[in-house]
């Protein structure tokens, strides 16, 4: 395997990881602050992608499409928080799982009803399409590089928000002791709605950004949701830093596993068998990684014990 191909795949892995971080950050924030497990997070990702594809189709502007994805996902998030989710904070996880499972059914079928079963397509804008040449003569798609940039920017913004701003202080305080900060006069239900909408907006952004690489279709959110779960289990639930480290780790493992494992098995097996064993193992690699992390640290890399 050539070095150039390897570096390309590394970048693909980082790009995938950064996207997973946008999903996982919202999930882990919502769990950390509200103690809620939200299966419908994948639906918010889907809503973002559909909003972006629809607006891009109407207006032709990619920037407008991204704004629409943020707005639509945040609005949908705030709406379900006000109508359904806030009744679930005091319930056990089983009720939360079921109610959010019901929301997935409603969102998925509702989207199918509105947009039909055929996938939509979101075009990469001309100023972001085509390859760029990186130092060392590596050609890499500009759009994927832009995704990495946006993801890292959002990560930095999120860390600043949590560490530096007033609302960040309230979020951290809410994680530690919700009764106490309510007693200190913070409007806790407004805070919860804001956190939920923020997490939803991040998921919607991820959906729109990925929508331009893959097709935009019903059911696109759930595989990503489950990977985001793996990420936050590895990183430790409630930890944004854990989500970032876990996301990059999962992104790299998955991408490199798919490329490297068949090649490794080809060293001592027939090519046909090597590619089938290699690809089967590669599809399981991140779960094996997760099991490994759990055996060492049951509450994740950065989780509180």
């Amino acid at each position: 395997m050539s070095l150039i191909l390897f570096i390309e795949q590394m970048l693909n892995g980082v790009q995938f990881g950064v996207m997973l971080f946008l999903m996982a950050a919202g999930l882990t924030l919502i769990f950390g602050v509200m103690g809620l497990i939200n299966l419908a997070h994948g639906s918010l990702y889907m809503i973002g992608a559909f909003a972006a594809a629809w607006v891009a189709g109407m207006s032709g502007s990619f920037v407008l499409a991204l704004i629409a994805s943020l707005a639509a996902a945040a609005a949908a998030g705030a709406l379900i928080e006000l109508m359904v989710i806030r009744r679930l904070y005091d319930r056990d996880h089983l009720d939360q799982v079921l109610a959010t499972f019901a929301l997935i059914l409603i969102f998925s079928e509702g989207t199918r009803w509105l947009f039909g079963s055929f996938p939509l397509f979101l075009e990469i804008p001309p100023y972001l399409s085509g390859p760029v040449t990186l130092p060392g003569g590596i050609e890499y798609p500009l759009y994927r590089l832009a995704i990495i940039g946006v993801g890292l920017l959002v990560a930095a913004g999120l860390f600043a928000l949590i560490a530096r701003t007033r609302i960040g202080i309230q979020i951290r305080a809410g994680e530690a002791d919700r009764e106490m900060i309510a007693a200190l006069g913070v409007n806790i239900s407004a805070l919860y709605t804001i956190v939920f909408a923020l997490g939803a907006a991040l998921a919607g952004l991820a959906g729109a950004l990925i929508g331009a690489i893959q097709s935009v279709q019903v059911g696109m959110g759930e595989p990503v949701l489950i990977l985001a779960f793996v990420v936050i289990v590895i990183g430790g639930i409630g930890s944004i830093k854990g989500a970032l480290v876990g996301a990059i780790l999962v992104g790299l493992t998955d991408t490199l596993g798919r490329v490297l494992l068949p090649a490794v098995f080809a060293q001592f097996m027939a090519p046909q068998a090597a590619s089938s064993v290699g690809s089967s193992l590669a599809s399981m690699s991140i779960y094996i990684l997760m099991a490994g992390v759990l055996v060492m640290r049951p509450s994740g890399l950065f989780g509180k014990a």
Partner: protein, 327 residues
């Protein structure tokens, strides 16, 4: 509490009555629907053991359902093509005999449940939910990417497997098999829930520390419950595959896990007949709403939301009143 045994008997006999009526009016499709209810209820009984008695919210029971299905698919496809399963070190042939397939399905899903349980039970709460979900996906992607047994397309079996002395191709005889197995599983569940093991398991659900303080290790209790639960769901998977004469990776998908969980919750968690009522209502909704609208999942979602938000204790809880729970 009084009304619950009566309701249970009514539900169990009602299922039988529907089938006998369908038999009398010659409607084999209704018998097939009832068979689906019995099989899915069996899967639910399995999950109810972990979820209801043990408080283990597993969102990965499709793993065992799928393993049961693939046990049937693999054995029957080898028997169908007269190719041995393994030639070395010992010769193992495929089989078309249901009892053998059931044993293999139960053993395989039990072993998988032991392995997954041993890892997952190190954690609890949300971690447990997410990990069981992730293990489910792992098996799903494995089934898709493993080309030997159909990969993404799944496996078809031409003729339903046989049971000694019965003609399984006759819908009512196959229903009878599933019905009897469901009855046995329910009997086992009710015996278990009142046994020393079941009581200790329930105690561990309510307060793990206290159980530990009296000298019982909750981890082992939960692991045994999880494995047993996997065995029952695996058996249901084998029957389900036989009903459809088809297995595919969909049996491993996380929607399947979600649906099995929906049966349990819709009927009532930890209630003996919860999964039976849940599966029957689910199939009924699917049949009725599916006839009304292509997008019947929206209505299913709405029904589910209402049950979760406003009718805690499920349908049995609504009819038979709330059980006094000490947690």
């Amino acid at each position: 509490m009084r009304r619950e045994p009566l309701l249970n008997a009514a539900v169990f006999l009602g299922l039988l009555a529907v089938v006998l009526w369908a038999r009398a009016t010659d409607e084999p499709f209704t018998i097939t629907l009832a068979t689906r209810v019995a099989i899915l209820a069996l899967a639910g009984v399995g999950l109810n053991l972990a979820l209801g008695l043990g408080g283990l919210v597993s969102l990965g029971h499709a793993v065992f359902f799928g393993i049961g299905g693939y046990a049937m698919g693999i054995l029957a496809s080898h028997a169908q093509s007269y190719s041995p399963l393994i030639e070395w070190p010992v010769l193992i042939e495929g089989t078309k005999s249901m009892p053998v397939i059931w044993l293999v399905a139960m053993a395989a899903s039990g072993l998988a449940a032991l392995g997954i349980g041993a890892l997952s039970l190190r954690t609890s709460g949300v971690y447990f939910i997410m990990i069981t979900l992730a293990f489910g996906q792992m098996f799903y992607y494995f089934a898709i990417s493993w080309p030997a047994y159909g990969g993404e397309d799944g496996l078809s079996i031409y003729v339903r497997n046989g049971f000694p002395g019965l003609n399984t191709l006759d819908p009512i005889q196959f229903f009878a098999i599933c019905y009897v197995i469901l009855g046995l599983a329910l009997w086992l569940f009710s015996r278990l829930s009142r046994s020393a093991f079941g009581l200790a398991l329930g105690a561990a659900r309510q307060n793990g520390e206290r159980v530990m303080a009296v000298g019982i290790a909750p981890y082992r209790l939960r692991l045994v419950a999880f494995a047993l639960s996997g065995v029952i769901t695996g058996l249901a998977g084998a029957l389900f595959a036989d009903l459809n004469r088809f297995v595919s990776p969909t049996m491993f998908s996380w929607q399947t896990s979600g649906e099995i969980m929906v049966f349990v919750i819709l009927g009532g968690v930890a209630r003996l007949f919860g999964p039976v009522v849940g599966a029957a209502v689910f199939i009924l909704l699917e049949h009725v709403l599916g006839g009304l609208s292509e997008f019947w999942h929206i209505y299913l979602g709405a029904v589910l939301l209402v049950v979760v938000l406003f009718a805690r204790g499920g349908i049995i809880g609504l009819i038979a009143g709330r059980e006094v729970r000490h947690d």
